[in-house]
């Protein structure tokens, strides 16, 4: 590791002042489960780290009277997954968390850090590889004609096709979550769906965060009707402790065997957590049966662009989504 200093600010204001200054090169660190690997592999070489875990940022998990869930950015994956209110009201979130990483990692990792974890593209994480536009803007993309089996089929550009690897972000996007962001200029609220950016011609810019700006909290609007019939299904190369090839988060509001409203997002397939509005539209008003699920699921691949080795994801997306819908909605 490149040597660095570590600041443990007493409060958020101090953290943001340190974070907003351009020099020395500074990165925030929370649970460190993504930051440490990136430091060890020298993908990142900051001169200073600023700790923003519990004690600096809020780690409370609160279910409001109106059903809104508020998760402090420093809350650990384990604590959110084990929270009784989350399990009852938003089981999709607990399922997605427990489908990710390992118990040890979840005991350390925060929700804020989870949303900001960097891609698992092997070329990005290997500084021995020259061509990676995300790591070295303008250097090319080794994945384009290389080993792109794990890469994105939605939201890519000719500059970068790296997936966003978070599981819980997929569930949160499906549930219309929004983020409270804090900077020295104050607070703003951004929909999680609008938080991550597609690579376009600047793959190194991954979110709308301004320099020094922090995620303070995640808010999930009340969704009791949807929460009851929901499911997170993750398909991976081995049964546990692996990133998704394809995952699906679905939540259905069903009455008398008919879907009133559907929320659908997929992971492992997009350059950011990918909401599926066309699938949702196709499901709205449909009966809960295999034919309707299948017809709707086929819309998931609209606009998908396979690149070499990841073409299998198109079929797998449809099948994963049908299965998730069957589990969540049942058969009328």
């Amino acid at each position: 590791m490149h040597p660095f200093t570590l600041e443990r600010p007493r409060d958020v204001a101090t953290a943001m002042m340190l974070g907003a200054r351009g020099a020395p090169a500074t990165e925030y660190i929370a649970g460190g489960t993504d930051m440490l690997p990136l430091l060890k592999d020298e993908v990142l070489r900051p001169e200073r780290l600023v700790a923003v875990g519990a004690g600096v940022l809020d780690d409370r998990i609160e279910l409001g009277r109106d059903g809104t869930l508020r998760i402090g950015a420093a809350a650990r994956m384990t604590d959110v997954a084990d929270h009784e209110g989350v399990g009852e009201t938003f089981p999709l979130i607990a399922q997605a968390l427990l489908a990710g990483a390992s118990p040890q990692v979840r005991n350390m990792a925060t929700l804020g850090g989870n949303l900001l974890q960097r891609t698992r593209c092997g070329y990005f994480r290997d500084v021995g590889v020259v061509a990676c536009n995300k790591r070295r803007p303008g250097s090319g993309c080794a994945a384009m004609d290389g080993d792109n089996r794990m890469h994105a089929v939605l939201g890519g550009s000719d500059q970068c096709i790296a997936t966003h690897a978070s599981d819980v972000a997929v569930a949160l996007v499906a549930l219309d979550a929004r983020l409270r962001l804090r900077s020295l200029d104050g607070e703003r609220i951004v929909a999680l769906e609008a938080f991550h950016r597609v690579p376009g011609d600047a793959p190194q810019v991954e979110t709308v965060l301004a320099p020094g700006e922090l995620i303070a909290a995640i808010e999930v609007p009340a969704g009791a009707a949807l929460a009851r019939r929901s499911h997170y299904l993750k398909v991976r190369d081995r049964v546990s402790f692996e990133f998704a090839l394809v995952s699906a988060a679905v939540a259905l509001d069903v009455e008398d065997g008919r879907i009133r409203m559907a929320r659908v997002a997929m992971g492992g397939v997009g350059t950011k957590p990918w909401r599926m509005p066309r699938v949702e539209q196709a499901l709205a008003g449909a009966r809960c049966d295999g034919t309707a699920y299948r017809a709707a699921a086929e819309r998931a691949t609209d606009g998908a662009v396979p690149r070499g080795r990841n073409g299998f994801k198109l079929d797998l997306m449809v099948r994963t989504l049908v299965r998730a819908l069957e589990i969540a909605g049942g058969q009328a």
Binding site: T5, L6, I29, K40, F241
Partner: protein, 158 residues
């Protein structure tokens, strides 16, 4: 930049002067001589470096010790009490749940945290708790058996 660290390891207060960027794994092994904690992938993927912090399993290869000052760290050296093996250690030895033994310290501590919270776990709960601990030798069956055996013996003793 070196910092003075005040760590509580296996119930003892230990002071170390170490560079900030040294991981807890490195400080335990190199500065405190506690080499029972093993050094595997270094990237969070194998679980062999697991230690307990306030009773919960975490990965020492991804932890910066400054962040853990004042909290109780337990390593494999702290598992036996007064020369007597922990029932998990006993069961692992009897059932051949360790072969090369490299994964064993991390697995024992992870299993200890499980049994402290859930004294009679189901087989699936054991599997889930140990999902982050890889073993290249045993094929896992004997490990799961040994955790079950220890759980039964610990229950019988109460």
């Amino acid at each position: 930049m070196k910092v003075r660290l005040a760590l509580t390891v296996n119930g003892e207060s230990r002071e170390v002067l170490a560079p900030v960027h040294k991981t807890l794994l490195e400080v335990l092994r190199e500065d405190l001589g506690l080499t029972g904690t093993k050094h595997g992938c270094e990237l969070g993927e194998c679980g062999t470096c697991t230690v307990l912090v306030d009773g919960e399993p975490v990965l020492s290869c991804l932890a910066l010790p400054v962040a853990i000052e004042g909290r109780a760290i337990t390593t494999i050296e702290g598992m036996a009490e007064g020369g007597e093996l922990h029932p998990l250690q006993q069961a692992f030895a009897e059932l051949g749940a360790a072969q090369c033994g490299y994964c064993t310290p991390g697995i024992l501590l992870t299993a200890q945290a499980l049994l402290d919270e859930t004294p009679t776990p189901t087989r699936d709960e054991i599997k889930e708790a140990l999902a982050g601990n890889l073993c290249r030798c045993t094929g896992y069956t004997k490990i799961l058996d040994a955790v079950e055996l220890a759980s039964m013996r610990m229950g019988a003793r109460k």
